[in-house]
């Protein structure tokens, strides 16, 4: 008996294999690159939004204090803001605090007439609040107590300008940051993130 030797063994030729491997590699590389790029993009977008929220928070903190502030001053580089706020609440150590039940309760203000008109005073003493940059963080210091109100590696920079006119006073603040995706630190990348706000002192102390 003669064995049929016509058994047809099919397979890839070397050239087919090479082409296949090459194409697969290219597709895989493209896929991986795309995935990484996507992840980076989304991460950057996520980071941008998170930092933007922190910009908003800085503005909101500042404006809340400016509105109730008696006096606002800024440093020469505009990056540090010092405010004087009324002591609305009785705190431990205050003269009224001899009655412990009064701690944490609002004061009734007193009225005084000065050469600049009537003044409403909640307490002879006041609270000092300072906003400044500390490394990658923006900190708020109230009577020595430090609170980090924003922190980012995106170089958040708030700048506040205090404008004191005859009958009014306001503070204009801008907050910028350098997003992760930028063109080699181009200035436009920072200015494009500018958030701007103005708040008026409602308790301006004249004179």
């Amino acid at each position: 008996m003669k064995l049929a030797s016509s058994q047809k063994i099919t397979g890839f030729t070397l050239s087919e294999l090479l082409v296949t491997v090459s194409l697969s590699s290219i597709i895989l590389a493209a896929a991986i690159t795309s995935a990484v790029a996507l992840q980076k993009s989304f991460s950057a977008a996520d980071n941008y939004l998170a930092t933007h929220i922190q910009q908003v928070r800085i503005i909101d903190y500042l404006n809340r204090d400016v509105k109730r502030g008696l006096i606002v001053t800024t440093s020469v580089d505009l990056q540090s803001v010092t405010m004087t706020l009324p002591n609305y609440l009785i705190q431990a150590g205050d003269p009224e605090a001899v009655n412990p039940s009064l701690i944490g309760t609002p004061r009734t203000p007193t009225i005084a007439y000065t050469s600049n008109g009537w003044q409403v005073n909640y307490s002879p003493s006041t609270t000092t609040v300072v906003y400044s940059i500390n490394g990658n963080s923006i900190v708020r210091v109230e009577n020595g107590v430090v609170t980090t109100i924003a922190s980012s590696t995106d170089q958040l920079v708030p700048q506040t300008t205090d404008v004191d006119l005859a009958n009014t006073e306001y503070a204009s603040t801008t907050v910028t940051f350098m997003p992760v995706f930028n063109l080699a630190g181009n200035t436009a990348d920072r200015t494009g993130t500018t958030l701007f706000a103005t708040a008026y002192l409602r308790n301006k102390r004249r004179g």
Partner: protein
């Protein structure tokens, strides 16, 4: 047997590519969705936080409007509010597309030296928080450091303020109060201060004519020393800063201004320039204002004294008590003779003269613009507030204020209920006298006329102003906090950030 494996092993490259793209897209979409969702939640919470302050301030406006009514429309002030324990409260008001709500409490916490009440407004505003019940991006602040939730205190399940500090923030009545949906509430405290009427030397709501070509208006501050006519021309004098506040405010575009004004001039659409007259201060021709009618103040806290009940001939008031600014000795008089003379003496206790507060309400005319007119004499230490419903006529030299302080003789013209009735105030200097007097006039519905050239210390608020004499008019800056409240303004703003 022939085995035919017939295996067609072709790689489906297209399928692999599609699967890869699908997986990458799912990853990317998920990241994007997560990112946007958290951003939207954060944005929603920021919006709610800001809107809750808007709501609180709207509540403050509502309360402020009621406080103004205590002067401008007393019968309707705090109508619909509840009053308990000295505090007015209103029911929550819901408004706006985002269902904001606000409620306020108002209490009278202080009487000033004029007897005018000061009000405290405590108001809160609430805004619902849409979206997920969760804090947002404050995990970005680092381990153990809170961000947004430290600033924006969101009540997800319970009202944290009432639970921690009580409904009034005074540690009383703390309770767990569930909220129907997440919300942010912000609380502000405002102080409404009375506005007194004498902020300028002359304030006219209508036409203005005057003064004489050789007249002048200047100012001084009585607490810094007696009036000295040389101070206004001597910048080195420490009192100089108070000598250029003889301001004239005219709510009209029609004004004839003569003489020298050591102060500012404001008109409503006028064309006053430095060239038209001698004005030391600024000129602003775009300063409109409103002068509401003046009504008799609330007398419920005043001490009524029955006699005298009219000024006929020479009438003297000897008050039975010193009284206070908030509760003066109150005389209601039906008439004041055309040539009548009213003398008010101070109250003496144990031989010591007391600061004595007297209010007189004349329900008709006071004196007359012709003839002798009224004579009014107040002793030192007397604080007289004279209200009249009709017209006022007197000679300048017959207004005798022995205290020397214009704020101690305040004369108020009650606005006529009939708008067709024109109220008048006429001051004449008899026989060319330059005798002076110290007084203030507040009569927003009266046409004011002063003839001759008296030496006048005080302030006048009127409808139309006419003066043809060479008056020497000295505004006392100390008058800017003297007198009855004619309106209210917000002078203090504090947010309870707890």
């Amino acid at each position: 047997m022939r085995v035919s494996p017939k295996t067609d092993r072709r790689a489906n490259v297209l399928l692999c590519v599609l699967c890869t793209i699908l997986i990458v897209s799912v990853i990317g979409g998920n990241v994007l969705l997560n990112c946007v969702t958290r951003y939207n939640t954060a944005s929603s919470q920021v919006r709610s936080w800001k809107e809750s302050l808007d709501a609180a301030e709207a509540g403050g406006d509502v309360a402020y409007a009621e406080i103004r009514k205590t002067i401008l429309d007393r019968t309707h002030a705090f109508s619909g509010w509840t009053y308990s324990g000295g505090v007015y409260s209103n029911s929550p008001i819901t408004f706006g597309r985002d269902n904001l709500s606000t409620s306020s409490k108002v209490d009278l916490f202080h009487y000033d030296s004029n007897g005018n009440p000061w009000y405290r407004i405590r108001t809160n505003g609430t805004s619902p928080v849409m979206g997920l019940r969760r804090v947002t991006m404050d995990d970005r602040m680092g381990v153990g450091t809170r961000g947004d939730s430290l600033l924006r205190k969101i009540d997800f399940n319970y009202d944290h303020f009432i639970a921690t500090y009580g409904p009034n923030g005074d540690n009383v009545g703390k309770t767990l109060l569930p909220v129907t949906q997440p919300q942010i509430t912000r609380r502000v405290e405002l102080i409404a201060a009375p506005m007194t009427p004498f902020e300028a030397a002359i304030k006219a709501n209508g036409l203005f004519y005057g003064l004489g070509s050789a007249a002048y208006i200047d100012s001084y501050r009585s607490t810094a020393g007696a009036y000295d006519p040389n101070v206004k021309n001597n910048p080195s004098d420490p009192r100089y800063v108070d000598s250029h506040s003889g301001t004239v405010e005219i709510n009209s575009s029609v004004a004839t201004i003569m003489g020298s004004i050591y102060g500012n001039v404001y008109t409503n659409g006028g064309t006053v320039t430095k060239n038209t007259t001698s004005i030391s201060g600024i000129i602003d021709n775009n300063v409109p204002f409103t002068l509401p009618p003046f009504y008799m103040p609330d007398t419920s806290l005043w001490t009524y004294v029955a006699n005298p009940s009219a000024v006929t001939g020479n009438t003297t008031i000897n008050p039975p008590a010193a009284g206070t600014a908030g509760s003066p000795n109150y005389y209601l008089m039906t008439s004041f003779a055309t040539n009548g003379s009213l003398t008010v003496n101070a109250y003496t206790s144990n031989g010591t003269v007391q600061e004595t507060y007297v209010a007189v309400h004349v329900t008709g005319d006071v004196g007359s613009s012709s003839g002798q007119g009224a004579t009014i004499t107040i002793a030192d230490h007397v604080h007289l507030q004279l209200y009249f419903d009709g017209n006022f006529g007197a000679k300048a030299q017959n207004i005798i204020n022995n205290s020397g302080f214009a704020g101690n003789l305040q004369i108020y013209g009650i606005s006529p209920t009939d708008p067709s009735v024109q109220q008048t105030i006429a001051l004449n200097s008899g026989g060319g006298s330059t005798a002076g007097f110290d007084a203030t006039f507040y009569a927003p519905s009266a046409n004011f006329t002063v003839n001759g050239g008296p030496d006048f210390v005080g302030a006048i608020v009127c409808k139309a102003f006419y003066s043809n004499g060479n008056v020497h008019w000295h505004y006392d800056r100390q008058l800017d906090n003297i007198g009855d409240a004619v309106d209210y303004r917000i002078v203090s703003y504090v947010e309870d950030t707890r």
